[in-house]
Symmetry: C2
Subunit: 141 residues, 2 copies
C-alpha cells in the first residue's frame, strides 16, 4: 500500500506542538519541519482537531496548539485519530459461499483482525506524547 505515513506525520506535528507549549504554530512552519506541504499538514490537523487533540484558530496570529497536556495524550488516541485502516484487509471480493472454507473464513479473519488491533492499541497506550517528546529531545531512540 502506499504506505500511509499519516501517523508518523501526526506524531511529528504533535511533538512540535508539545515543544512550543501554548504558543500557536502555523501550518507553514510545521510543514517545513515535516518536509511537506502546508495543506497536507492542515488536512492532518483537521483530523487531530476532530479527535480533540488540537485546537486551531483562523486569522492573523492564528495557528494550532495542543488541546491537552502532552502527558494526557497517548499514542493510541493519535493512531485512532488518523484513520490508518486495518492491519490487513479482508478479501476484496467476498469468497465463494459454496465452499465450506470460503463460507466462514471472513468471520474468523475478522476476529483475528480485532485481536491484533487490540494488541496494537495496548502497545501504543503505553506511550504518551510527553514520552515521545522526551525521547526525541534526548536523541534517545
Amino acid at each position: 500500500m502506499a504506505a500511509n505515513s499519516q501517523f508518523s506525520m501526526a506524531v511529528h506535528v504533535l511533538a512540535m506542538l508539545a515543544r512550543s507549549k501554548d504558543e500557536n504554530l502555523k501550518s507553514d512552519y510545521l510543514a517545513a519541519s515535516v518536509n511537506t506541504n502546508a495543506v497536507v499538514v492542515r488536512r492532518l490537523l483537521g483530523q487531530l482537531n476532530h479527535a480533540n487533540l488540537v485546537v486551531s484558530q483562523t486569522g492573523a496570529n492564528g495557528g494550532t496548539r495542543l488541546a491537552r497536556c502532552p502527558n494526557e495524550i497517548n499514542l493510541s488516541e493519535i493512531y485512532k485519530a488518523v484513520n490508518c485502516g486495518e492491519v490487513f484487509a479482508l478479501h476484496a471480493k467476498s469468497p465463494s459461499k459454496d465452499c465450506p472454507i470460503g463460507k466462514n473464513i471472513e468471520a474468523v479473519l475478522g476476529c483475528i483482525q480485532r485481536e491484533i488491533d487490540k494488541g496494537i492499541a495496548e502497545k501504543l497506550t503505553r506511550y504518551t506524547l510527553q514520552n515521545v517528546f522526551e525521547m526525541v529531545e534526548q536523541g534517545k531512540a
Copy 2:
C-alpha cells in the same frame, strides 16, 4: 490504493490446503473459492512456497499442497511470508534535519514501529493453521 488483502487470501488458501490433506489442489480451484483469478493465487502461492509453507508441482496432475502439518504452521509465519509491509509508514520525505524534532523523530518512530510489529507477531504466533481451520469448520468466529 487498494488495501492489501494478501494475508487474508493466504490464510484462506492455506486453510483449503489443510482441508485437502496431501492431495494437490490446483490454482483454478483455489481461485474459485477465493473468488479471484488463478494467477493471483499462483503469485500468492509463490510467496508461500518461498517461505517453505507449501510445495507445488507443475504439469498434469500438478498443484499445491502444504509443506508441513497444519499444526506446525502458525499465522505469524504466514504474515511474514506475504510481505504486508509495516503497520504505518515512516515519513515519505525525510523531515528537516534543521529542526530538533525533525532530526530525531524518525529514530523514535522506528523504535515504536518495531515494538508494534513484535506485538503483532506475538499475537499471531498463538494461532496455528490447524486452529484457524477448526474455527472455520465449526463456523465459530
